[in-house]
């Protein structure tokens, strides 16, 4: 009877009003015997609240976490600081336990927050409009790919090999069914090969999916790339790290047609990979092709400003098989987290986070590159993440760091063997504003022990 507030007396009265003698009659009237389950569910015995928490704490204790370990892992999820006020807002029951604001008159809180989120994403990315959120960065990129195909009518797409391998895999998965051909543009060093891009970017190709900073941490030459893509009237899709936009140019200012991002860095805990936040922003002219919910401002019959869900003619509950996407439930609460986060750090704060991450990452890179047997995988500019060639396999590096209570060492060589160049391993490291100099020095010292 956990969480069920019907007493036996109430149940009896209710059954009487319904006109049956047991709930079994209700089920019997509906479910034919041939599909009835005639045994109890084979589940562990119910626990009380106290036991549930004790059990889960035991389970969680079997993990290493970033409270105990210094985290230099990145690869699309970053250990940025989450201000305390973010969770204080998220815990408000009116946000936490509401659903999609179908009834705007009692949902102005969620609706205004979405409108503010959309506005913030436009400011960050330099784009005209944003939806109310996608599942994560990877599926946002896949939805953007679908938009490109729909918009251009071209069924080939270029994907930079420097895009996060998981993201590429998600794009492939989404595009497989609709028969889109994905063509990989290879690396030249640690960034996209512009010559190959130029050759591959034909007028049969809908556009390019790019990520910058890319998976290895390096900044792509976006202005040159933009020119190549647009020369063939392709669409230029850019996946970014939103935190980087405190320092780096907004994709809207260098010609991106669609910007996607993983929003986790904006006030969202690592939480073993989710729930995160897919950001998707685009140009006004692609508005009707955009997937996902959108809130808009309007007025009520008392003359007050208010907010509603709008442009719903794109969506599945109206358009069904002709919808721009099947997305329904999205990541509203995480979008709220990002909204609260950006309101808290503000204009200066985001720049500070970006700058601190950059400073510390560059310090770490310099120190590691100075270690005998270690060198940077490339000389391209980077933001908070970079890749180093190691004198040992990446897994050995990672294992060694664990012994020093450090999480770090994504195996870049596994995904990009072309990078190794004779080295035993290639390792990607991320450094956020949370990492202290002492922790970085500890990392460097530990790496120095790797042979």
């Amino acid at each position: 009877m956990r969480y069920i507030p019907i007493t036996q007396a109430d149940k009896a009265a209710m059954l009487r009003d319904i006109g049956v003698s047991s709930t079994e009659e209700l089920f019997a009237a509906n479910i034919p015997a041939e599909v009835r389950l005639n045994r109890p569910l084979d589940l562990p015995p119910a626990l009380t609240e106290m036991e549930i928490l004790a059990h889960l704490r035991e389970l969680a204790a079997q993990n290493a976490d970033t409270a105990e370990y210094a985290c230099f892992l990145g690869g699309g999820a970053y250990d940025h600081y989450v201000p305390a006020a973010v969770d204080a807002v998220l815990r408000r029951g009116e946000f936490l336990t509401a659903y999609t604001p179908y009834q705007p008159e009692i949902s102005q809180g969620v609706l205004q927050a979405i409108y503010e989120y959309q506005s913030l994403m436009c400011e960050l990315t330099g784009m005209d409009l944003s939806n109310a959120s996608m599942y994560d960065g990877a599926s946002a990129l896949a939805e953007a790919a679908g938009m490109v195909v729909n918009q251009t009518g071209r069924s080939k797409l270029l994907v930079a090999r420097s895009v996060h391998p998981h993201y590429r895999r998600v794009v492939e998965t989404y595009m497989h069914g609709v028969g889109v051909e994905l063509i990989e543009v290879p690396l030249d060093g640690v960034t996209l090969d512009l010559n190959r891009l130029e050759a591959l970017m034909t007028d049969e190709v809908g556009g390019l999916l790019l990520q910058t900073p890319n998976y290895l941490g390096y900044l792509e030459q976006v202005r040159q790339i933009e020119a190549i893509v647009h020369r063939m009237s392709g669409l230029f899709v850019v996946a970014v790290d939103p935190v980087s936009l405190g320092l780096l140019e907004a994709p809207g200012h260098y010609g991106a047609d669609i910007v996607v991002a993983e929003g986790q860095g904006l006030g969202v805990p690592l939480s073993y990979g989710g729930p995160y936040l897919g950001i998707l922003a685009t140009r006004e002219r692609f508005a009707r092709k955009m997937p996902g919910r959108i809130a808009g401002a309007t007025v009520d019959n008392r003359g007050q400003r208010g907010f509603v869900l709008t442009m719903q003619a794109r969506e599945q509950h109206i358009r069904r098989e002709k919808a721009t996407s099947n997305i329904c439930t999205n990541q509203a609460l995480i979008a709220l987290a990002a909204t609260v986060y950006l309101a808290l750090v503000g204009k200066e704060g985001l720049r500070e986070v970006a700058n601190l991450s950059l400073q510390k990452a560059h310090y770490a890179a310099q120190q590691i590159a100075a270690l005998p047997g270690w060198r940077l995988a490339g000389s391209a500019p980077f933001f908070k993440e970079f890749t180093v060639l190691a004198p040992a396999p990446a897994q050995a590096v990672s294992r060694h760091l664990l012994g020093h209570k450090i999480l770090g060492g994504i195996d870049a060589g596994a995904a990009y063997p072309e990078l190794l160049d004779g080295a035993a391993g290639a390792v990607t490291l991320a450094v956020t504003e949370k990492r202290t100099r002492a922790e970085i020095d500890r990392l460097v010292a530990a790496l120095g022990e790797v042979k």
């Binding site: 109890p40 509401a98 659903y99 400011e123 109310a132 780096l248």
Partner: protein, 485 residues
């Protein structure tokens, strides 16, 4: 404005959260980053102090309804109570502070949790394996249909290009089929929402890849011929997809796997009580029968002795749906929820069905019922007669309910019911709350006769009145711009 926008409250120079000065030797940004990649104009984020941010969102929240505030019988959305212990559970540092790229040996707790909940949910649904990657129901559907596609392709039956979807289905079903590259073939429902077997028999064929079905249907009624339906599809070489939107009706009573379904998705945020968050995050795990296991997204959590690993080596996999492993924080909450019930999960469905029938029993004298049969976990009523007689339509009834402090039911869905009101009380409401709702619905029914204009002008007590949705669509204002304020 009830609450000014963050941007309207912004004042240059205000700060909330600040960060320490760098503790490492300084790097010149201009040396690290080429000038053409540096931002010239910083993003115009609002500048506020912490007190203003907290007040802003506190004030916004107070304009919002949630399950924590009062009744929320939004049909099809299963707005049940979200236990507070689950919020604590998801915030345990050992879960919340783990990085998705950690080596498996450092996240054995996470992997064990995923593997265990997979087993439990397979038991509830009658499936063999499950993936937690889909972030919501719709992504679960896409995953499921792509699994079916991969199955057919692996068997050399790639020419199957049709997915059959009943006309009573949620919009996500046809939209999903289209996203997976399928032609959507509608099949008509009988007036009770069940699938017309004859029509189905005529629809299936060598082009049939799958049937997508919600059972109980969106009318809240269990399709008695479900076994026959899945057999018809199977005989035609198609597979059967179970949309788990309405799983809250049948836990412990029946299992999609036993009905003949090959794939099923579950909405953890509905049936397993994770908070809806104003529209997510959800979680839409997908379960499959053994013949579809090779196609599951990578990686799959496997147990090896007493260790757990992520298995990426699955050549037939459809690929990935999520950058990492899905909405793990949501999965933790669902795990805690199953633990809180054990085999008594069955009672969840028992009381969900009891509550829906109780509401229907009391309201069917006042609102239209098209199928006068016991319902499952939700009941679909309609204001068709009311509209004919008074001009008060379903929308007006819903808006008038707002004045009673409860969230209205889903309206105008399913599409096959005119002036529909789809009421899903869930099992976490007590009789007194249901009685209060029933009384309100009857009062509105009466008021529609005595004072229809008052009902049509509703809501009267909400912070904003009826909003001009036409204006919003005609002149889209989708973001703040400085010149607007």
């Amino acid at each position: 404005a009830l609450v000014p926008l963050l941007f309207e409250q912004s004042t240059p120079g205000k700060r909330a959260v600040t960060f320490p000065a760098p503790d490492v030797p300084a790097v010149e940004i201009s040396e690290a980053i080429p000038a053409d990649l540096l931002r010239q104009v910083p993003p115009a984020l609002p500048e506020l102090s912490e007190v203003e941010v907290v007040r802003h969102f506190t004030q916004l929240s107070r304009l919002n309804h949630g399950v924590d505030v009062d009744f929320y019988p939004l049909g099809s959305c299963t707005m049940k109570y979200n236990p507070k212990v689950n919020e604590e559970a998801a915030r345990i540092p050992g879960f919340a502070l783990t990085h998705p790229m950690q080596p498996a040996e450092t996240v054995q707790g996470n992997l064990k949790l995923l593997h265990t909940l997979e087993r439990w949910l397979c038991e509830v649904t009658g499936m063999d394996r499950m993936t937690f990657q889909p972030a919501a129901g719709a992504q679960g559907e896409l995953t499921g249909i792509l699994l079916i596609r991969a199955y057919h392709e692996a068997r050399g039956e790639g020419e199957r290009n049709e997915v059959i979807v009943p006309d009573s289905a949620h919009g996500t079903n046809p939209a999903t089929a289209a996203m997976a590259g399928y032609r959507v073939v509608p099949v008509k429902s009988m007036p009770d929402g069940s699938i017309d077997l004859e029509s189905l028999r005529q629809t299936v064929g060598p082009k049939t890849a799958a049937l997508m079905m919600t059972n109980p249907s969106t009318l809240g009624l269990f399709d008695p011929h479900v076994k026959e339906i899945t057999e018809i599809v199977h005989e035609a070489g198609g597979l059967c997809y179970y949309d788990g939107a309405n799983l809250n009706a049948i836990m412990g009573y029946a299992r999609p796997g036993d009905m003949g379904f090959d794939v099923v998705h579950i909405n953890l945020h509905k049936t397993f009580s994770t908070p809806h968050g104003g529209g997510g995050p959800g979680s839409g795990p997908v379960g499959v029968k053994s013949h579809l296991v090779p196609f599951l997204p990578v990686p799959v959590v496997e147990q090896q002795g007493d260790r757990y690993v992520l298995d990426w080596d699955r050549p037939q996999s459809i690929g990935k749906l999520h950058a990492f492993w899905g909405n793990f924080g949501v999965v933790v909450r669902a795990y805690a929820y199953v633990l809180a019930h054990g085999p008594a999960l069955k009672e969840v469905s028992e009381y969900a069905v009891l509550n829906a029938n109780y509401v229907m029993a009391h309201l069917k004298k006042y609102y239209d019922v098209f199928v006068d049969r016991y319902c499952m976990h939700e009941c679909v009523l309609a204001a068709r007669t009311l509209k004919q007689e008074t001009g008060v339509k379903t929308l007006d009834v819903a808006k008038r309910l707002l004045d009673e402090g409860v969230h209205p039911p889903t309206i105008y869905f399913p599409l096959i019911v005119e002036e529909a009101l789809m009421i899903e009380p869930t099992e976490t409401e007590d009789k007194a709350t249901l009685d209060r709702f029933i009384d309100a619905m009857i009062r509105i029914h009466d008021e529609a006769r005595s004072n229809p204009e008052h009902v049509k002008a509703a809501p009267h007590k909400t912070p904003v009145g009826r909003l001009d949705e036409a204006l919003a669509a005609r002149r889209p204002n989708l973001r703040y711009k400085r010149e607007q304020c």
